[in-house]
Subunit: 417 residues, 2 copies
Amino acid sequence: MGTVGTGVIRIVQDSADLLAARTGRPIAISAVSARTRNKDRGVDLTAYGWEDDPVALAKRGDVDVFVEVVGGSDGPAKAATEAALAAGKPVVTANKAMLAIHGQALAELAEANGAPLRFEAAVAGGIPCIKALTEGLAGNNITRVSGVMNGTCNYILTRMENSGLPYEDIFKEADALGYLEADPNLDVGGIDAGHKLAILSAIAFGTQVDFEGVQLQGIQEVSIDDIRRAGDMGYRIKLLGEARRTDAGIEQSMRPTLVPATSPLGQLEGGTNMVVIEGDAVGQIVLRGAGAGEGPTASAVMGDVADIARGLHIPPFGQPAASLAPATRAAAVTECAHYLRLALRDEPGALARVATVLGQAGISIDRMRQYDHPGTDAPVLIVTHPCAPAALAAALEGVTATGVVSGAPVALQIQTP
Amino acid sequence: MGTVGTGVIRIVQDSADLLAARTGRPIAISAVSARTRNKDRGVDLTAYGWEDDPVALAKRGDVDVFVEVVGGSDGPAKAATEAALAAGKPVVTANKAMLAIHGQALAELAEANGAPLRFEAAVAGGIPCIKALTEGLAGNNITRVSGVMNGTCNYILTRMENSGLPYEDIFKEADALGYLEADPNLDVGGIDAGHKLAILSAIAFGTQVDFEGVQLQGIQEVSIDDIRRAGDMGYRIKLLGEARRTDAGIEQSMRPTLVPATSPLGQLEGGTNMVVIEGDAVGQIVLRGAGAGEGPTASAVMGDVADIARGLHIPPFGQPAASLAPATRAAAVTECAHYLRLALRDEPGALARVATVLGQAGISIDRMRQYDHPGTDAPVLIVTHPCAPAALAAALEGVTATGVVSGAPVALQIQTP
């Protein structure tokens, strides 16, 4: 009964006739559960049963479908979800953390008990991307799924760009506006978006969900200068997720990435999300919409509820959990151009040392520019030709070892088309 | 067994394991039918049965699902679809003309015989927009569906803009490239796109499909000058479909429309389609992808086949055909700004006459510009403030009646946000 739960109640109350017409049966709330009972949520709950314990709610005899919008990978959300599935009851959840970490076990439990487990609301808010991937594009070998899936990070990056203010200031602003999770690292560290990507990746490639296999890089290191310089080159910086099927295995990453400013991804503002799916038959499909909020998330929950009411019953990840292979990880193998920012010490030959080390590591430089430096360290911006991220990481260790740069170089990928 | 049929065969052959894993059962071709049997289509058909008559194919005992990719609103496509449905067999079709004209009768036939009838491929090629609207967004009161749904028209308009060549030249080019339907008016007259919009509109608003209620305006009158002048004002011209629920009823139109060049719709190039759905809970969802072609259309067909194999069975238009109300037409009531092009006779006071007539009709002018005129008629461009299209049409009759303009004024709508 937080924001999303309230949105679900609102739809059930306001659109009862519509839901009945579309699903062929009445959809009604039996009972609800929340941490505090007496709180004005703007919806009337007096007609519904009440349970203090969500597990008790999940087990109630008059509950046909259990909707879990508590959040958190473990704790009451998981306990109640397991209780409902064990009782053979369909579950609809918005819980990306739970799915990303316990998705395989929950899918097995759901299938063993013949209960649907659906989670459209867990990824990209109101965008029906899980349905598109699992059902609409079921005839495709999916080759790549990418997208911007964390509205808070996109808000911070957009606001930095528009205001010219540094990360720290905008972070505080987002916090004051209530945009950040209780643990902000879930947002700015890319974890929340990584959870979502891992879920999409499992469905796309028919593997067990492998959140640990997502290469994570947060937006904390993105400076206002990076945003400006990327802009000068025609790019914007987005927290971009990429999941690809490669010959070496599944590659998953969630990291700040330079995308062309004029591309659909580059034009995203604020809390809008975008999911891009590429399949062998369909080519590229782009889906865009609100990534969070009461209405959009409740819309996704209710789409799943309607599916269940209509009798749709497919395995949670699109094929039986037992047939999902463990994901073979192929981290950072796809070559791409990189944006590098170094702080060069004011020593003769320093830039040559950096260039030499990169060249010896096989990293080819596309552009290099040294900026004015009021202090002792000169900011240097380098754009590389496409190279394997792993090779670049090794090369940057070599650059650091030269002793001619201050601190760790910042490396951001430039999206490959 | 044209382009789309060949694509379907290819997916079934190449992705048999994938389809079996995802749907839980093998998917195989029993038999095929086409106008000519001995033709190299690039796929091996020797393992399949053959029927000269598609109706016989639809009735075969070893056919569980009938896939209709013949096209045409009547004739063999309709006969075979009816035969399959009458026999209780699920039908998957890509046939927008048939659905737009006979959708209600076919839905009633399908439901009476307990057979699914699915048609994702009929609208916007590979974009799973019917699934999004019918299922994913089932919790929403849909308020508006819009989009660019005819790749050929978008190709012609884009090519005119890029080449600076007039409509007639690019029309011939598109014809030579095989982009046009046998009756080109289906494309350039907006009929094909109108069929698609009528299907989406029926699902969105829970009404009987009402193609006759779509206000149609083709792209034939769009001149290269219109494209240039729209561009000067920051717009591009797209054949845009709009379906809205208004207090007066359902408003459907398919017409060349000025859209902001920087908007998602304004950035569409060539054969790409876009469908924009607005719902009370979800806000705005934008879906983009290839609108035609073997792979994308076959992807949509196979998504429907997979749904049927997985046991999904919902009414064709999302709710029982008997519950779909006839669409109350509210044509051209939503106010919008307009772009007008007139050829003004070289007479004293001519422009004043036009302005006076428009003003008397309550049409307020935002901008007006008279261009150089080497001949006797001066091109005049007018942008109006928002007004009802019906009021503008009446006003333009008054303008024509003044006798100070040559030919009929060209009026294009400017999209409202």
